[in-house]
Symmetry: C2
């Protein structure tokens, strides 16, 4: 059984990006710039943003954190986003979710120019990806794809079961894997997995276990600790755990621990390969964000844009 | 065994639209207007356009056919599309595909304003649909949804196998059926199917027959005559045939006949319900186009727009 070590793969990915950017710097080229918009003071969001900033700094991406108080109006926030769309010094930007309730997430995402959408979450990025047009890939699915590539786990003709149908993971992941292999953006990914037979399951699925047992690869993104158990997994299958759940843990100084959606202890005895939580998909998502920023930068610097 | 009679359901749908538009006319409200752009003289395209125009006339939708010679430049065509985007007298428009080789279909579709995209094929329409935002649904999947609704064939929790991963049918159909039920546009559909467990199969799928045998509903859109045979169908399953293939037929005065992707003769002895070709999905697609035009019109007339 192989543990799909996202921490290691992400570190290698960051090292490659750093190397590339160091060579750019040596040539006197400007460095890429990411802007991160954060609204309010959600502690989890602040931690995520801090981690992203640290990762950017490590590879040589400049970051500007643009923080607003929770009482910013939707209108003001949309104006700020339009400014970032026009700002030529910014290669890409993200708006950290969730947003306060009075601000429509859909309106915010719809306002972000897809050419700067380095999270790959705007409707235009998704629609273009669905149709195989050049687009920035969604960060988490893209990170999972990189992990599968790294461990040379083929997807063509394989049966992939995706559990969860969110806009951020389930649906874009399913679409990415069912496509004919294509390059989302020239420099995002060297190979490109695809050609899988994909089943999307969710809370309304009947007999999830039987469907999972037919899968060569199972990707779980349901937000439900222990959802995937050993008897749902075909021996030798690959299991990717996207869940990040806090469960009480009196033994931990924080009072909780992070677990995925997979019963790791037992599933790891059946699966051929499995990604742990933490240290699996999480670091890969941040690596994909960095990779997306550098891909956009790589197109901006020579003076050309993502083609229509 | 029930034959899913698309011809009949489409006629009823048209009658309802006609009734609605007659009542609008009686109130002195302007009628909806569809523009159809056609480039060159592809005989199949000309037939499709003629059928669409006839259907529009029948329900009271004004149609303007905008025909260009095959040597129009891509730039000129895009300029014409931008004009249609701005033209307030036009509720929606479609560009008949295929286009001559020197014109990029992707560029054309990307240029169409999604709020006028009554075929529901632009990246923005697809992306918004994926995310559950208000959007005009793709015509063929929407027609299939209406057919399933009419015959009260439930999808929630059922296993739907979609064969084919095209931008026009396979992918939007899969996405529509896996979603939480939602109303694409207020007046497009009274009910809204969804919540299905969806598997997308294609030319690279291994053991298609075994996967199909687990399906409650099979939707075939592969463009391959006779692809779905009786032994691939679970007794009682619903089979929707989206294929339209010309096969030689010396007995026909035209020298060919139209067949679907399903071996109708034998599959109809196993299936619980089946859509024929012709007279199944084809008429439903045109009915969906009309329905999309009227839905956009219905929002335009009182003076509001598809909300962001």
């Amino acid at each position: 059984m192989i543990v799909l070590d996202g921490k290691k793969v992400a570190a290698e990915k960051r090292a490659k990006l750093r190397e590339f950017l160091t060579s750019c710097k040596a040539k006197g080229v400007r460095m890429p710039k990411l802007a991160i918009v954060i609204v309010g003071h959600n502690p989890a969001s602040e931690t995520y943003v801090a981690n992203k900033m640290k990762a950017c700094a490590e590879v040589g991406i400049e970051v500007e954190k643009i923080a607003f108080e929770a009482d910013i109006t939707e209108r003001q926030l949309l104006t700020e986003i339009r400014k970032l769309n026009r700002d030529k010094s910014v290669d890409g930007f993200i708006v950290q979710l969730p947003l306060p309730e009075h601000i429509s997430e859909a309106k915010v995402l719809t306002t972000i120019d897809y050419r700067k959408d380095v999270d790959g979450l705007t409707p235009m990025s998704i629609g273009r990806s669905v149709q195989g047009l050049p687009a920035i890939p969604s960060a988490t699915p893209s990170g999972i794809r990189t992990l599968l590539e790294y461990y040379q786990i083929p997807t063509a003709g394989k049966h992939v079961v995706v559990i969860g149908r969110s806009n951020i993971v389930g649906k874009p992941m399913a679409l990415m894997l069912m496509q004919r292999p294509y390059l989302s953006l020239p420099s995002v990914s060297a190979a490109a997995l695809g050609d899988a037979t994909v089943t999307v399951c969710h809370s309304k699925t009947q007999d999830l276990a039987a469907i999972c047992r037919t899968a060569d690869i199972i990707i779980v993104a349901a937000g439900c600790p222990g959802l995937l158990t050993a008897e749902m997994v075909k021996p030798g299958a690959t299991v990717i755990d996207v869940g990040i759940n806090r469960v009480e843990d009196p033994a931990s100084p924080r009072g909780y621990k992070l677990v995925g959606d997979v019963d790791f202890e037992h599933v790891s005895q059946v699966a051929g390969a499995i990604s742990p939580v933490p240290g699996g998909v999480g670091p890969m998502t941040i690596a994909s964000l960095l990779s997306n920023v550098v891909a956009v930068y790589d197109m901006n610097v020579p003076g050309y844009k993502v083609s229509e």
